[in-house]
Structure formats: structure tokens, C-alpha cells
Symmetry: C2
Subunit: 199 residues, 2 copies
């Protein structure tokens, strides 16, 4: 007879669904929670449901927020005329850590990737075009990952925007090609912002 | 102004408390949960509170269980005359995966480690001695980790048990010295059980 603890297996299964967490690590994490003081599990559980319940997409820039409009869009000091287009909410956090960028964002929630069945219609491109129809936008910075899919997405969107006569720029290749934006260090991201080129 | 999402930060902080999870990984995991379908966060939260609420120590062997008495102690086919003493609940799961061992366990919940302030009184040694006072126990297998602390704990307990006239054995060094038991493979653990020696 195998030694089964149903609720331990269930918790292990939930940890195993996380990216980069294998079976043994999942069991290790589950056992850590179980052998930790009572309040850890309850605070962790509360944090999970709380974050999921409160966090939604900002109706304007589509980034994650737990208030009505995200702090960047709500900030009167941010330049609404410059929109930095990123693929992922993580990238907004990475740019905000530079404390250099004064414009606003637009989060696509993915990149065009035909092999994964992700076409342009699955991204928040329609929402971006709606924002651009407001004539106050002067520049769109394409800040998708410097990968094949990121480049393809940037050039696809650029072609859509070009007729609107808005200036379109792309991050300078300060960021190492083939890597993910979220792991770029602050200085590299600053260089990339400063050296941006018109497409 | 920094971009703060309070409930995201709180969830990230909870992930960061897990062993081996750093700040960036914690944020990555938190964002994964937030961008996953609704039911994942709620099932995860339920699994956390459920596991913590249901799982307790088996009153006999001190291993983790979510039923009154653990399945090993409750199994009439297991030999109650042989007790395998391990330091951690993880080790019970590792031995059970071999499907070879037919005795029962005793979980110490740690090893003697003066540098970490863990003396013998913090381990479940008293509970072990109480079990041994029942004359039906024929053999105690010392299966603490083959580390300095594990060895010291095994020899400390052996000295306490010796006067009772019970046979005491130690796992054979099939397990690589200096490693942790939970990472030993099934065959290695089987060899270690088969080649056990009387102390």
C-alpha cells in the first residue's frame, strides 16, 4: 500500500503547476508549508485569493492593478503622449524599476506566435489602436522582447500604426538579443530607452 | 512614484518565504497565479488551508497524516517489531517509494545540532523511548541522514536504547555520505536497507 496523504498530494499538485517547479521541489515546498507555523498557510492562502480577486487589468493600459486605474495612468505627471508597448505585465514592473521612464504603457499580454496559436486578435492590439485614435499621442515605443516573436509583433503593430502619422520607435539594442526583458538590469534598460530609434 | 500593487507584493512576499525561492522567482510565480484562470488561485488557497488544517502528527510514529493514525501504523500487515528512525517526514515518503520496507517508522523531526540550538529534548526521542518500552519491538533501524549531525543523532539514540537489549542497526552506506536522504534514488535506498549492520 502506497503512503498517501490526500491533502499533501493535493497541495503538491498545486505547487507543481507553477512554472519551473518539478515534482520533488513541489513536495518539498508543500512539506515546508505544512511544517511551518499555522499563520503562514493562512496568510499565503489569503494572499492568493486576495491578489486574484483584487488585481485586474487597467482599463486604459491593460497592465495589472488593484485600484480602478493603474498608478501610472492615474499619475498627472506622466506624459500620456508617449506609450511604451510591452508584451507582459512583468515588463512594466521592470521599466518602473529604472525610475527613468515618464510616459505611459500598453500591455499586449503576449506576442504573435503562430506556432502557439497566438494570432494578433488574441493580443490587446485593438485597445492600443483605440488609444491612438486620441490625437494627443505623439510617440509609440515598441518594447516587446528582442526575440523573433517580439520583433515580429513590433513590426506588425508598427505597420498598423504607421498610417496614423504617429512617431514609432524601437528600444535600442542595449538589451541582449534573445533574452527576456524582465531579467535585464536597470542600467541596460535605461540605455535601451535613451538610445531608442525611429522605425 | 514606484509602481506598487499591494496585493501582488503581499503574494510575492509569501512565495519568497519558501525555501530556494528568491525575489525575482517569487514575483514570477505570483504573476503566474494572477494571470492564470480564476480557479487555480482558489484551488491553491483551499489546498493550503486544507493541508494545514488536516495534516497532523501520527500519535504513534510522529509522521504526517491526515487521518487519525497514519496508514503505516494502521496497516495490520506492517511489522510493528521493526522501527525505522528517520529525522524528517520526507524520509518516510522516500522509504515508502521503495515498496520494500515492511516495518514501521519513527520521525524525530530534526537532528541534534548544537550550533542551531537543537538539543535532544527538541526531537521526538521521548516518544520513541515510550514506544520501545513495549516489549514487542525487536529491532530499531537508525536511518537518519548520513551527515555529521545525522550520525551524532543516531549514536546518541543508540546509547539510550542499548541498555534495553533491543537490536540496533544502521543503514548501510549505500547512501552517498554527506547527501540528504530525500534525494537518494529508490535502488540506493533498497541497497541501504538490505545491507544494514548492527551497531
Amino acid at each position: 500500500m502506497a503512503y498517501n496523504i490526500t491533502s499533501l498530494n493535493e497541495l503538491t499538485a498545486q505547487f507543481e503547476k507553477l512554472p519551473g517547479i518539478g515534482k520533488k521541489t513541489a513536495q518539498r515546498l508543500a512539506l515546508f508549508v505544512i511544517t511551518s507555523p499555522e499563520e503562514y498557510a493562512s496568510r499565503f492562502a489569503a494572499a492568493l485569493t486576495d491578489a486574484k480577486r483584487r488585481i485586474h487589468l487597467c482599463p486604459s493600459c491593460q497592465s495589472l492593478t488593484d485600484v480602478d486605474i493603474c498608478p501610472v495612468c492615474a499619475d498627472p505627471l506622466r506624459d500620456k503622449g508617449v506609450i511604451c508597448v510591452v508584451s507582459d505585465p512583468k515588463d512594466v514592473l521592470a521599466f518602473e524599476r529604472t525610475r527613468e521612464y515618464k510616459g505611459v504603457y500598453h500591455v499586449l499580454h503576449g506576442v504573435i506566435s503562430p506556432l502557439d496559436g497566438v494570432g494578433p486578435e488574441k493580443l490587446k492590439i485593438r485597445e492600443l489602436l483605440a488609444r491612438l485614435s486620441d490625437s494627443s499621442v505623439k510617440e509609440v515605443i515598441m518594447a516587446t522582447d528582442p526575440t523573433v516573436e517580439g520583433e515580429a509583433t513590433a513590426s506588425y503593430i508598427s505597420r498598423l500604426i504607421k498610417p496614423m502619422g504617429i512617431k514609432i520607435t524601437r528600444l535600442a539594442y542595449g538589451v541582449p538579443v534573445g533574452a527576456n526583458l524582465e531579467y535585464a538590469d536597470t542600467v541596460t534598460l535605461q540605455r535601451a530607452l535613451e538610445g531608442r530609434n525611429e522605425i
